[in-house]
């Protein structure tokens, strides 16, 4: 006689099968001692597991739960009011940042449109100490306009201000500024020194 698979025997031992299937297994068990032993083991195992009795909570368990619930309520109440303040504060801070950024942007726009020469004056000394005139020219063409007749060793860069090219005979307002012209003197010395070193 071929033994039944254990899953069916387990189902039988735990009453999971319908009456017809249970009757079939009962008939099989009557003539199959190994299967009978397996069913018996499942049942004895069940009985042994039932001996494991519940664990009593400690005497202070209920008090701990109550305390945890109260703490939860307190946190909730606190976070509710604080949360509102937080949202309000964040909104005000965002508004402040927007206003400052807007003012800064408008100021920058206004300066860059109305006083390009002033900007050139401010930038030229800093650039002169760290950058070659050709590099400065790329950044700010107006600031490195060579004096008439002076040789730089290189062809003069094409000068542009914004999208408008400047011719040699055109008047550049920035050159009227004494400080700016003085800075050109400094700049004009740099290529010569560099050239001397290179030689």
């Amino acid at each position: 006689m071929k033994c039944l698979d254990h899953e069916r025997l387990f189902g039988y031992a735990h009453g999971l099968l319908g009456e017809q299937k249970a009757a079939e297994i009962r008939a099989h068990l009557a003539g199959c001692s190994p299967c009978r032993l397996i069913v018996e083991h499942y049942q004895r195992l069940d009985a042994a597991l039932e001996e494991w009795k519940p664990t009593e909570p400690s005497a202070w368990f209920d008090a701990r739960v109550r305390q945890a619930v109260e703490a939860q309520e307190a946190r909730r109440a606190a976070s509710g009011s604080w949360g509102l303040e937080w949202v309000r504060g964040l909104a005000l801070a965002s508004l402040g940042v927007l206003v400052i950024a807007g003012v800064a942007w408008l100021t920058y726009r206004h300066r860059s449109v109305s006083t390009p020469a002033t900007l050139a004056t401010q930038q030229a000394p800093q650039m002169a100490t760290t950058q070659a005139p050709s590099e400065v020219a790329k950044l700010n063409p107006v600031a490195v306009t060579p004096r008439q007749g002076e040789k730089t060793g290189k062809p003069a860069p094409e000068l542009q201000s914004g999208s408008t090219a400047l011719g040699e005979d055109e008047d550049v307002g920035a050159l009227d500024d004494y400080d700016l012209v003085a800075n050109f003197d400094v700049l004009s010395e740099i290529p010569k020194k560099n050239a001397g070193v290179a030689n």
Partner: protein, 193 residues
């Protein structure tokens, strides 16, 4: 006065009735602490987890929908907590000491029929082996056995709690019992179980 159903109590808790929460706490404190103790083996952790389960019930009271039985919802919360705890401290489960063969507190005891000292030793050893066998089952199988055997939760409820099908629950239980049967075969063969 007829005992109020869990559902009625929970609906009152949802409406803000603290006394109903107290009733649920008294009703389920023993089953929950026992469930967690069987699941995680550590009595102090079991109480912490039971407390957390009650707290979660309280927190979620406003979202509670009486679609399923209250115990299904409660044990779903509890099972998730227990499985997370098992996963978090997988290798940190303390082995039962020699002084305490059951590995649990003195207040937890198996059924005792006044055995002799020698019988007591044998019984202690047998209980320890059974407990170890159950607690070495994979988390889902352990939860299925404990919910089915001790918490009186039916197969359909276990399926909802574990988010599996009913046939998967039967399969989980079969594999769990088969593992227990093989691990405890010496005791079964010798008639100690």
């Amino acid at each position: 006065m007829a005992m109020e159903s869990d559902l009625e109590l929970m609906l009152r808790v949802r409406a803000g009735d603290a006394a109903s929460f107290e009733t649920l706490l008294r009703r389920y404190r023993l089953p929950l602490v026992s469930f967690f103790h069987r699941m995680v083996r550590d009595p102090a952790l079991a109480e912490d987890l039971a407390q957390e389960a009650f707290l979660r019930v309280y927190r979620a009271r406003e979202r509670y929908q009486p679609e399923a039985r209250f115990t299904t919802w409660l044990y779903r919360i509890a099972t998730n907590l227990a499985l997370n705890a098992i996963r978090d401290r997988k290798d940190a489960v303390p082995e039962p000491s020699d002084d305490d063969p059951d590995g649990g507190p003195a207040r937890e005891r198996f059924v005792d029929s006044k055995p002799t000292a020698e019988q007591q030793l044998l019984q202690d050893d047998r209980r320890r082996l059974i407990r170890q066998a159950v607690q070495s089952l994979p988390g889902n199988q352990r939860a299925a056995v404990i919910l089915h055997k001790y918490q009186e939760v039916d197969y359909r409820q276990i399926a909802t709690i574990l988010s599996v099908s009913e046939s998967a629950v039967k399969s989980l239980l079969f594999r769990a019992y088969e593992t227990l049967r093989m691990r405890l075969e010496p005791l079964l063969r010798e008639g100690q179980i």
